[in-house]
């Protein structure tokens, strides 16, 4: 068994293996697959609770992942934000001295969450400019009616 505490290196290696087999297209194809087949709990929470569903989803995951973060929910403006001061996943990968993390590891986040949230009427934006220091931020905002 691979314990859940060793999952992040397994995930990173999976991205690398997929790129080796089918190029970046294969990696993105997997990200779409995992959004469609694994993130049903996020989809259901947002369908039921609206933007608060994001708060409920990430409250559990980020606490279980022992992240160093701040989450903000403003239901009046329809905005949810995460400021990640130290991402446990990227932080773990950066700390490993005996293996090389997948170079676009953080790229999975915007692809996965946009794919779940945009069809529900939300835009998902990220700032990954400091992800090489395990820091990032993301915002979920209700789309304006055209």
């Amino acid at each position: 068994m691979i314990p859940c505490t060793d999952f992040i290196p397994a995930y990173s290696e999976l991205f690398g293996y997929l790129e080796h087999r089918g190029g970046k297209q294969a990696v993105v194809g997997f990200w779409h697959y995992i959004a469609d087949n694994f993130l049903g709990n996020l989809r259901e929470l947002v369908e039921e609770h609206g933007i608060r569903g994001c708060w409920l989803y990430w409250m559990r995951t980020l606490n279980e992942e022992a992240a160093d973060f701040q989450m903000e929910l403003d239901e009046e403006t329809g905005e949810f934000r995460i400021i990640m001061y130290d991402c446990p996943s990227k932080g773990m990968l950066l700390s490993l001295t005996h293996m090389e993390p997948y170079d676009d590891y953080c790229g999975h986040c915007p692809v996965l969450y946009s794919r779940v949230l945009e069809p529900l009427g939300y835009e998902f934006t990220t700032d990954l400019s400091e992800c090489d220091r395990a820091r990032c931020s993301c915002t979920v905002r209700a789309k304006q009616n055209p």
């Binding site: 314990p3 859940c4 997929l18």
Partner: protein, 156 residues
């Protein structure tokens, strides 16, 4: 309508997100459907060779005690029940139920057909280059209950 803020530091929580098992299972399912069974095995071997390289070295140097410590660590983290029987030449690990499989079953995640390879292939790869060989003697797909045996290779 209110504004809520939550601030947490890493030290506020224990690192244990068992839903990751569901993500790994989804990855294995995708690999099998896209590239076939051998791709699952190849990926898990590559993962073991890279990430578990320190464990493999330890197994090559110390043999069964290193394997036992590795599995004790894993099942302690996950809260799984594992019994160990060890002699000079053999280690048997009896797992009452795989914590990963049980978590996925309890939370409605699909357990990939080849999820068993996270035990069989990883164990075999851990032993490669050592004096020991790994066998998966029993495995129940519903619960992940298993009997895993590590034996000294026959000398020629």
């Amino acid at each position: 309508m209110s504004k809520q803020v939550m601030r947490r530091q890493a030290s506020d929580n224990e690192y244990l997100h068992k839903d990751f098992h569901g993500a790994l299972s989804t990855g294995i399912d995708y690999l099998e459907k896209t590239y076939g069974e051998q791709a699952v095995i190849e990926y898990l071997r590559r993962f073991t060779d890279t990430f578990y390289a320190p464990v493999k070295r330890d197994v090559q140097e110390r043999g069964l005690p290193a394997l036992r410590e590795h599995f004790e660590r894993i099942y302690q983290i996950e809260g799984g029940q594992a019994q160990f029987e060890q002699t000079a030449d053999e280690l048997t690990v009896r797992v009452a139920a795989c914590p990963a499989v049980m978590h996925m079953r309890e939370h409605g995640y699909t357990v990939a057909r080849l999820f068993v390879e996270t035990t069989r292939t990883v164990n075999e790869a851990l032993c490669e280059g050592s004096q020991f060989t790994a066998e998966l003697l029993e495995y129940d797909e519903q619960t992940g209950r298993s009997v895993q045996r590590f034996s000294r290779r026959a000398s020629r």
